[in-house]
Amino acid sequence: MRAPLNRWFWKVSVVGLASGTLLAVVGIASRRIQLAGYGVAAALVCGAAATALLTTRALSILPVREALTANHAPWIAKFLYGPALIASVLAPLVSLAINIVSKRVLLGTIVLELVAGTAILAYLTVVRRVVKRLLPQDPTKPPSAAKFMLLLVPRRDREHLVGDLEEEYRTIVLPEYGARAAKFWYWCQVLSSIAPLLWSQSKRIAGAVLA
């Protein structure tokens, strides 16, 4: 039973390697980091640690920061770069070690996914919390978690919406009501702004599909 299963993994691995690498290369060449991300995701789903290893290494060597900056606003690029870097450095190393020791492809891939996921979670929670405590806080900056939520807003309105919110936060709300109230106001605006924009976007997409 073991041999056919291994052969099946091998075939899927080859297909995953081909499609994942192709997507990653096309994504980087056309400066679309999302497409490159799909390449890595394809590799991971295919269950081949070797595939994931190659593509994540390729992504870490290629200019990820530049690609992110070209595709996103500076604050989004900055936010995405940390997890991308941690995942691309840690995940392949652990995956490689597991593969060498156990020679089990599937186990290596599962660990790879776990490590990548844990690295992102660690970055989002522990590291950011420690940095927050160590560094003096800038009250003129809106809450970054709320800003992160604005990634849900459709791209056509995102930049202007974030700019308007930040301008009103800095020039009107913060001087008038103080940091705590201003942060609360920002959160309220973000939460109440996402729903109508998402609803409008989904109606637009549904209209385009039905037409």
Partner: protein
């Protein structure tokens, strides 16, 4: 059926009318934050930026307003402003809505306790 759809597209909702008026009043300085401020100060309407941008997008799709991107500024964290301008179709729609309101309100002043 098509006629009904066209009529629906031509008509302006209350919030759309307010937004169009704010954009018209602000002229060259009509961008998201200013429109939001104008709606709050003049009309007493508190709305989210999401609702405002949804309405502006809809008005743009109808051809009532057009938009252009301005220069990025430091107080916006280096983000550009999106300026809006009322187009001729928008002016015509606003004029129609205004006239309709005037016609409907004609003779109602005593019942409303005066125009002011």
């Amino acid at each position: 059926m098509q006629n009904r759809i066209n009529k629906k597209c031509d008509s302006l909702g209350e919030f759309e009318t307010l937004v169009l008026m704010a954009v018209l009043r602000l002229g060259d300085a009509a961008y998201g934050m200013r429109i939001h401020e104008e709606l709050e100060n003049r009309a007493g309407r508190r709305c989210s930026y999401g609702a405002l941008y949804t309405t502006l997008d809809r008005l743009e799709e109808k051809g009532y307003v057009s938009s252009s991107i301005g220069e990025p500024t430091a107080e916006r964290g280096g983000r550009a402003k999106k300026y809006f301008k009322v187009d001729n179709m928008g002016r015509a729609a606003l004029r129609r809505a205004y006239r309709t309101t005037l016609r409907m309100a004609e003779g109602l002043e005593p019942l409303l306790g005066g125009a002011q």
